[in-house]
């Protein structure tokens, strides 16, 4: 600011002007501009300081667990996991008025569809979170000791391998990113599916070396046998039968693991329910090893009304299988003897009627019938406790009050002709009858056990990996090798626990194993992934769910397409597309 330039003469003696000039000059020149304009975050953390100490790295590991639980097991959204990973298989069909069951299977697998993007997005996000840990554990800013570093990286690698396994299952060839992404990149190319599986195996070999033994590990963290279990599935996935058998055997032979063969846990003495060990496996508090359960390898933790107990809203527990898979019994209507329409269940959802199902997905007709006929009547997994097929009218207004619906031939009013949201067999494993939290009880208890409409979640922890599946994975490996006798032996380990008759080695084939997995692991494994891994999705869906989703499925549907928006965003290289899309 040159005052002379604009022609002002001034008298330096003049006190007003001097003071004014000083003020102006101070403002103009005296200020350190960059200091004044420096931006200091006040209420959020910066990456620079957040990945240094062991505690901070552990917090980042906790987040991987939270991501996995929240992204794949915590919503009832039609386009998100877990719903998309059950539907369109031999397991489940969706209620018609939810906009699915389209005439054409292709509508489910449009490259532009949200459900196709969802899995891709969440898995790569999980991979980036793991990569941040892996990269920063070795960065100069890291304060980790060698052994701390190894155990942290081992757990991060487990999640990375799990994510890549799922990606390869669903999309086949996918881009492999093994470092933290710090600058925008748009030129990814896809690695072959087998290379992806091999990378997973490599990662897990490291994990197994450094993760704690299952008997020493904390319940909510990853242990060595969980890693071995995953490793055996990955080896199975690309035909490394011996290595798969080795990894599975390590888990099976660990003295800390065994199938639960006798009744146990929280509701052994409940007079109203139960009756077998398969029922006990899925009761509240029975999943973690700390409850005496040695079958669990990795348990996802849910807790009602606790911060971190569920995704998003702390005041709920959104393990939503009850809502997704159980019928809306509380909306079921009967045409009563007097001609009037009445509710099967007065007073709304009821804990004694398996809570607040919403009937989004019901089991396929195959699951309801032939699957069990094939297995044999003695199979406790089809006991009246585990699959509940008839219900008493509970409506004081009704002349039929106290009568069973099926046994007494009461007419259930169907809104739709092909599926029924309100009345179908209840899968008890997905609910906690009689034990919904008191906070969710309705005010009006004139019908005891009446619940609020917010009660639709499964109030227990969830097996992410269970030893029964390890046996079935090893059976798959034996089958792959051609050792049918060992395969049958592993399958029978699982069947005997459920009092089901043995399978002979001659009967064992991949479809038998898939049937057995359906019986043992329904709504526990991501059915879609298992079928995709084996390339059996189209075949089995066509065969066992033909009336609905299977009618128009084609072989190319064994892989999902690469999401369209992803191809568009990757402007520097062509991601290509899976055949058929």
């Amino acid at each position: 600011m040159n005052l002379k330039k604009i022609g002002i003469k001034y008298d330096a003696k003049n006190s007003i002007f001097s003071s004014f000039i000083l003020v102006v000059l101070v403002f103009v020149s005296g200020c350190n501009e960059s200091e004044f304009l420096e931006e200091k975050p006040l209420d959020f953390l910066s990456p620079i300081s957040s990945y240094t100490t062991f505690t901070q790295f552990e917090a980042s590991i906790n987040q991987l667990h939270a991501n996995y639980r929240n992204d794949f097991w915590s919503t009832d959204d039609i386009n998100q996991a877990p719903r998309t990973l059950f539907y369109g298989t031999d397991l489940a069909l969706n209620d018609k008025d939810l906009g699915e069951n389209p005439p054409d299977y292709s509508a489910l697998t449009q490259p532009a569809s949200l459900r196709i993007l969802y899995m891709w997005q969440k898995l790569y996000s999980l991979i980036q979170n793991a990569n941040v840990i892996i990269t920063r554990a070795d960065a100069p800013s890291s304060l980790l000791k060698k052994e701390e570093r190894d155990v942290i990286v081992a757990e991060a690698l487990f999640f990375r391998a799990l994510s890549y396994k799922m990606l390869a299952n669903i999309y086949g060839d996918v881009p492999l990113v093994l470092d933290e992404v710090e600058t925008p990149k748009r030129d990814y190319t896809r690695a072959p599916r087998e290379q992806v599986y091999r990378q997973c195996a490599l990662d897990l070999e490291f994990s197994i070396k450094h993760l704690p033994d299952i008997s020493k590990a904390q319940n909510h963290r990853i242990n060595k046998e969980a890693a071995n279990h995953l490793l055996s599935e990955i080896y199975v996935s690309f035909g490394q039968w011996d290595k798969a058998i080795g990894a599975a055997t390590s888990t099976i032979n660990n003295p800390g693991t065994s199938l639960m063969k006798n009744r146990f846990g929280s509701r052994v003495n409940d007079p109203n329910y139960g009756g077998d060990v398969y029922w006990d496996l899925f009761r509240q508090g029975n999943q973690n090893r700390s409850s005496g359960n040695n079958e669990a390898l990795w348990v996802l933790q849910f807790e009602f009304n606790v911060s971190g107990g569920a995704s998003g809203n702390a005041n709920s527990s959104n393990f939503v299988l009850e809502r997704i898979t159980l019928p809306r019994l509380w909306q079921a209507r009967i045409r009563d003897k007097d001609g009037r329409v009445r509710n099967l269940l007065a007073g709304g959802p009821n804990t004694f009627y398996y809570g607040r199902g919403s009937g989004f997905q019901s089991p396929s007709l195959y699951f309801r019938t032939s699957l069990w006929t094939k297995s044999g009547e003695s199979d406790i997994r089809n006991s009246k406790f585990n699959i509940v097929r008839d219900f008493k009218v509970n409506n004081p207004q009704s002349p039929s009050n106290g009568n069973f619906v099926v046994a007494n031939n009461l007419i259930i009013l169907n809104t739709y002709t092909d599926t029924d949201r309100n009345f179908y067999p209840v899968l008890a494993k997905n609910s906690t009858p009689g034990l919904h939290p008191r906070e969710l009880y309705a005010v009006n208890q004139s019908i005891p056990g009446s619940l609020l409409s917010t009660a639709g979640t499964t109030f227990r922890d969830h097996y992410s990996m269970r030893l029964a599946e390890t046996y079935l994975l090893r059976a798959e490996a034996h089958l792959g090798k051609g050792d049918l006798v060992s395969a049958a032996a592993d399958i029978n380990e699982v069947r005997r626990r459920s009092k089901a008759p043995d399978v002979s080695s001659g009967e064992v084939n991949i479809d038998y194993i898939l049937d057995e997995r359906l019986r043992e692991l329904y709504y526990e494994e991501f059915r879609l992934l298992t079928l995709m891994r084996l390339g059996k999705l189209a075949e089995r869906t066509r065969k066992y769910n033909n009336k609905f989703v299977g009618a128009t499925i084609e072989d190319f549907h064994n892989l999902w397409p690469i999401p369209l928006s992803e191809k568009e965003a990757n402007t520097g290289a062509d991601l290509g597309q899976n055949p058929g899309y």
Binding site: I6, I8, K9, D11, F17, S19, F20, L22, V23, V24, L25, V26, G30, C31, N32, F36, L37, E39, K40, D43, L45, S46, P47, A59, S60, N62, A66, N70, D97, P102, L117, Q121, Y124, S125, Q128, V181, T183, P184, K185, Q301, F302, E303, N305, V306, S307, G308, G309, Q331, R333, R340, N343, G347, G348, T415, E439, V443, D461, S565, E568, A569
Partner: protein, 1118 residues
């Protein structure tokens, strides 16, 4: 003055900015403190002395040493060696000096502590300056009265000494008093609606000035940002709002008074109590950034809500539209600038009180009420036609059909059978909500100080229950001139507003009528229909407080620098403190175990500007006005939120959150800080007031910009030529004035908010261990772009101002075009990176348009006056380029269909399937994916069959043009104003949805969970040519047809009728003013649009009506 100098020395060199800030505060406080002292030191000081035979020089020394007086003189002008004898006993300095200099060549002038000794000249009371290095504190007092040609005093007229910034305002009787520096000064007298007049003082001390009416308004002084300018001198596009015409409207928000009244200023309709209307200037300059103009209140950027400003306190609103005018606000100016100036106490030299009160009755212009119980039942019968009716023509009802099957619960069946229904729409709306306004103000103008004080109270009931709004305002504006060269003032307000009452979820208006609100015993039904929690709980049982406080204070000092004419300095310091407290307790929350929360957010912004101005004329031809600015701003925020559920004892409500379940008490905290630093220079120059030139440049720094882009620079230049003054046009009789203007400038839009360039680690208790203990988790949630910066808009404006037919018609036409570069756009990243987006600056957006304003005085007979104002504006925007990607290889940049962005097309384009208007009928072959009663779709892509590829651009949501007509009719004491406002869309612009999809979602039985609006024309077998689709239809995703129709409307938006009682009555009552007024708002709306309101838009369950208002009010001055 020595004091000041010392202070400057002591603090002036301290480099730390905080200290600098303190310094400016201190500076102002000192001036304020000295201000408290009485106006004249000279009047107070009594001198006692007794000296014989001393020289004048010695006497001066003695007086300077024993008092605070300082003598200022040139040695040549005073006979310092003259010997005098002085004796004084408690004498006034004036008397003393009179005796000393009584018959000498020297005379004196006392100004506070200063005594100027100057040579005496004949015929003047005080000597005038002569040499260039002289002092300019010599004063000539001039008095005068300003009236119109009918002799009505023009209270509030401006009087400015030409070539200086000195000015006064005439009082209620048109009187003014002013100190001049030159006996030959020229006074520039201006008043809104009158032609500005230049009056030569030439020694007169009592002036009688008569102003001629002029509708041109070209001569008023407008605020242009860091200064004012005569409208006739403008080179850019600046408009002053006519807020006076709307002052009898009970507008709760100041912006409502601007609705439609200025071409190029787009103000929306208010639909909820306590809401501000949407506002924008000209066309869009940003895709994702801020779209609202910058608000400047009393010279300072205002970060608060406009609703907190009492419209009754506002003296003027000026709008800067083109880039050359807005460039002085740099990186925040691209959307235009609105300058709001509050009232001052200038007026008569006495206390004037004014009380204004009004009461209004509101009612909806148009509402979509829920259907009757029978209408609801028909919904089932007409939705379920396959079940409810008999094949083949489905005209016969199926006797076996029982719609109660469809009811969600037996409670609803019971309610139906007992004919027990609930009108939810009625329960959740108020039929005639009231609006109350009270304002009391006091204005005082003293010799050296003026004060404006006001308190106001507004209480507005909402159309929807729970939406009530109440506001208390207080304002205090004081300006004090405690020396001829120093003016210090404060402009401050305090607003406390009450938004308490939970807003209802508007979809609840359409709850099924058989979900009963109350039980037989009259108590609330806790779960109507057996499924949801009664929404009346929110109205009746929730304890909700939403109390907001806004305190604004602007302290300023203006110093006319003494040694050179026209140089002055202004410093201001503004602080604005805003606090929002929101407390909620719902005893029925958390499954009837109680939920509560307490939230406290505060924001404080403070800023200071140093403004140096120099204005002067050279050889009566060259007029120069230079402004230099340096300033800073800082905004800080801080918030706490705490909540609890499951209360052990709910009786303390939200004041006992600690009684909630211990492990479910939650807390969340937030804070932020942002800083700006700026400097600006502006030069206004004109030659003979015929050729005008303005150039500005602003340098703007903002903490939120990326590391390497902390500062942006925004230059502009503009020119104007008063063509009408040229000889070749001077003789055209009908042309009074003609001026052309042209401008070009750059202005910015910050677009990016604070912290947007920073990567974020999100941490929280996100997981649990097997014992249920929360575990802390963290991850990186954003990939940040460190290079983000502002958007830059380059604007060209060309305008013509004219005044015709003896000033009967005047107006202006502006054509403009803007191009915005570096648009903030979030580009997609492959999810493979773990992130999906990155904000970047790219692309180019253009908009251009025309603004026309015409005023005419149709009739003016003295008693009867009728004038009309017509405004017209139109704007077109176009996305010129964005990503620059051509993946499909057609040589043209690809559109971004997913974001509905089309290169070369307008923003807000509607890209969808085109319906034919026909519906599929029962006897037709219906293609796969469609249903009977569904819209037929036009096949546009030439490929057989309807697919999403048949989507085309159907038009745009943006208006085609807007216009308004304002008529003002005065007859004796009556004053009638009516204002018509219109937005037009033609065939395919200003489109809005017109289909039932909000109530009739596709392919789901949830369509039966809600009621529908009464009387809608939907498809049934008996009504095959309906406007809307059949209820409950199955249409494949991507094939759903939607109807878009123009929302064009013409609205009689404001009418007001005022009656001023006769002077005789007023005098009898000892009042100065007594006016009764009636006004109406949104009285008639002409439109074909079917939805809630064409201007608000929307045809859906969440829609809101516009409100009609009838007001009666009283205005008393005393």
């Amino acid at each position: 003055m020595e004091k000041l100098l010392i202070l400057s020395k002591k603090y002036g060199l301290v480099p730390n900015l905080n200290l600098k800030m303190k310094l400016s505060i201190l500076f102002i406080f000192i001036t304020l403190f000295t201000l408290k002292a009485n106006d004249s030191y000279a009047q107070r000081t009594k001198i006692t002395l007794n000296f014989n035979n001393i020289s004048v020089e010695q006497l001066i020394d003695i007086i300077e040493n024993t008092t605070e007086f300082q003598f200022v003189y040139k040695i040549d002008d005073v006979e310092l060696n003259r010997i005098v004898s002085v004796r004084a006993e408690k004498e006034n300095i004036n008397n003393l000096l009179k005796r000393v200099f009584g018959n000498t060549q020297t005379t004196f002038n006392v100004s506070d502590r200063r005594i100027y000794l100057v040579p005496r000249k004949e015929n003047t009371i005080f000597a005038s300056r002569k040499s260039e290095n002289n002092f300019t504190f010599l004063q000539i007092l001039v008095k005068g009265v300003i009236k119109d040609k009918y002799g009505t005093p023009l209270s509030g007229a401006n009087v400015v000494e030409k070539g200086t910034l000195k000015g006064v305002t005439a009082d209620f009787d048109g009187n003014f008093e002013m100190d001049l520096t030159d006996k030959n000064a020229i006074l520039v007298v201006s008043y809104i609606g009158f032609a500005t007049k230049e009056v030569s003082v030439t020694g007169q001390s009592n002036l009688n000035i008569v102003l001629e009416e002029s509708a041109a308004g070209l001569d008023e002084v407008v605020v242009v940002g860091y200064g004012t300018q005569r409208k006739s001198d403008l080179t850019g596009s600046v408009l002053r709002a006519d807020i006076k015409s709307f002052e009898n409207q009970p507008n709760v928000s100041l912006f409502q008074s601007l609705q439609g009244s200025l071409p190029g200023l787009n103000v929306g309709q208010v639909s909820a109590a306590g809401d501000n209307p949407s506002i924008s200037v000209r066309g869009r300059t940003s895709l994702s950034g801020q779209q609202e103009p910058l608000i400047v209140l009393d010279g300072t950027i205002y970060r608060g809500s406009i609703i907190d400003i009492n419209p009754n306190d506002i003296a003027s609103v000026d709008v800067l539209k083109d880039a050359s005018s807005t460039a002085v606000y740099g990186s925040q100016a691209a959307n235009g600038v609105i300058l709001i100036t509050s009232k001052s106490g200038k007026g008569p030299e006495k206390v004037v009180f004014n009380y204004k009160s009004s009461i209004s009755v509101q009612s909806p212009v148009n509402e979509l009420r829920a259907a009757s119980p029978q209408g609801y039942i028909n919904k089932f019968i007409n939705g379920d036609i396959l079940l409810s009716r008999l094949a083949p023509d489905y005209l016969q009802l199926n006797p076996n059909y029982d719609f109660t099957n469809r009811f969600k619960t037996e409670d609803m069946v019971d309610a139906y059978e007992n004919n027990n229904f609930t009108d939810w729409y009625d329960l959740l709306t108020n039929r005639t909500p009231l609006l109350n306004n009270h304002n009391l103000s006091m204005a005082y103008n003293g010799k050296s100080s003026s004060t404006f004080m006001s308190i106001g109270y507004t209480d507005q009931e909402g159309y929807h229950v729970g939406e009530d709004y109440a506001r208390w305002n207080a304002r205090l504006n004081i300006e004090n001139r405690y020396a001829e060269w120093l003016t210090v003032g404060v402009q401050s307000f305090l607003t406390s507003s009450d938004f308490s009452g939970l807003d209802i979820n508007l979809t609840n208006r359409y709850l099924p009528p058989f979900a009963t609100a109350r039980l037989e015993n009259g108590e609330l039904n806790p779960t109507p229909g057996g499924t949801f929690i009664n929404p009346l709980n929110d109205v009746l049982n929730a304890d909700h407080q939403d109390i907001r406080l806004n305190i604004f204070g602007n302290i300023y000092a203006k110093i006319d620098l003494p040694f050179i004419k026209g140089l002055s300095y202004k410093i201001n310091y503004t602080t604005n403190y805003q606090n929002i407290r929101e407390n909620i307790f719902k005893p029925y929350g958390a499954n009837f175990q109680g939920s509560g929360s307490k939230e406290n957010n505060y924001q404080r912004s403070y800023s200071s500007d140093n403004i140096l101005t120099y204005a002067n004329s050279f050889s009566e031809k060259h007029n120069l006005d230079l402004t230099l600015l340096y300033g800073f701003e800082r905004v800080k925020g801080d918030g706490t939120f705490s909540s609890a559920i499951n209360f052990a004892d709910p009786s303390l409500g939200f004041n006992g959150l600690e009684l909630g379940q211990a492990d479910l008490q939650r807390v969340a905290t937030s804070a932020f800080e942002e800083s700006s630093l700026y400097s600006m220079a502006r030069l206004n120059y004109n030659f003979l007031r015929k050729y005008f030139f303005t150039a500005t440049i602003r340098r703007d720094g903002f903490s939120g910009f990326g590391r390497d882009n902390k500062f942006g620079t925004f230059p502009s230049a503009s020119m104007a030529w008063t063509l009408g003054e040229e000889n070749f046009l001077k003789d055209i009789a009908f042309l009074n004035t003609l001026k052309v203007r042209g401008s070009y400038g750059l202005s910015g839009n910050r677009t990016i908010a604070r912290y947007q360039t920073q990567p974020v680690v999100d941490g929280g208790f996100n997981y649990v261990d097997s014992a249920g203990n929360p575990l802390y988790g963290q991850n990186i949630t954003d990939l940040a772009n460190r290079d983000l910066k502002w958007e830059t808009t380059a604007g060209f404006n060309f305008g013509v101002d004219f005044n015709l037919l003896n000033n009967k018609i005047n107006g202006s036409i502006d054509y403009y075009t803007n191009t915005t570069d570096d648009l903030l756009y979030t580009v997609r990243l492959p999810e493979i990176t773990g992130f999906n987006q990155l904000p970047v600056n790219l692309g180019k957006l253009g908009n251009s348009g025309i603004d026309i304003s015409l005023n005419s005085i149709n009739i003016d007979t003295g008693d009867f006056m009728w004038s009309t104002t017509f405004n017209f504006s139109r704007n077109r925007d176009e996305l010129i380029t964005l990503l620059g990607v051509d993946n499909d290889g057609d040589g043209v940049e690809d559109d971004l269909i997913s974001d509905k962005l089309f290169i070369g097309k307008q923003l807000n384009s509607i890209f969808d399937l085109q319906i034919t208007g026909e519906l599929f009928q029962l006897n037709e072959v219906i293609p796969s994916g469609f249903d009977v009663g569904a819209f037929k779709i036009k096949d546009t892509d030439g490929v057989d069959g309807i697919t999403p590829d048949d989507r085309i651009i159907l038009g745009t949501e943006s208006p085609d043009y807007r216009f308004s007509i304002q008529n003002q009719i005065k007859y004796k004491n009556w004053n009638l104003m009516f204002f018509i406002n219109s937005i037009q869309g033609g065939k395919n612009m200003y489109l809005g949805r017109d289909d039932l999809l909000s109530w009739n979602p596709i392919s789901t039985e949830s369509v039966f969970n809600v009621n529908i609006p009464v009387g809608v024309d939907y498809w049934t077998p008996e009504n095959p040519n309906a406007r809307y689709q059949k209820l409950l239809i199955n249409v494949a995703d991507g094939l759903v047809g939607r109807r878009y129709v123009p929302r064009s409307f013409v609205r009689l938006q404001d009418v007001s009728l005022g009656y001023d009682f006769d002077a005789t009555l007023i005098n009898k009552l000892h009042l100065s003013k007594l006016q009764l007024f009636f006004s109406g708002k949104n009285l008639v709306t002409w439109t074909k649009y079917n939805g809630w309101d064409p201007e608000i838009g929307g045809f859906d369950m969440q829609g809101r009506p516009a409100l009609k208002m009838y007001t009666i009010g009283l205005n008393i001055g005393f």
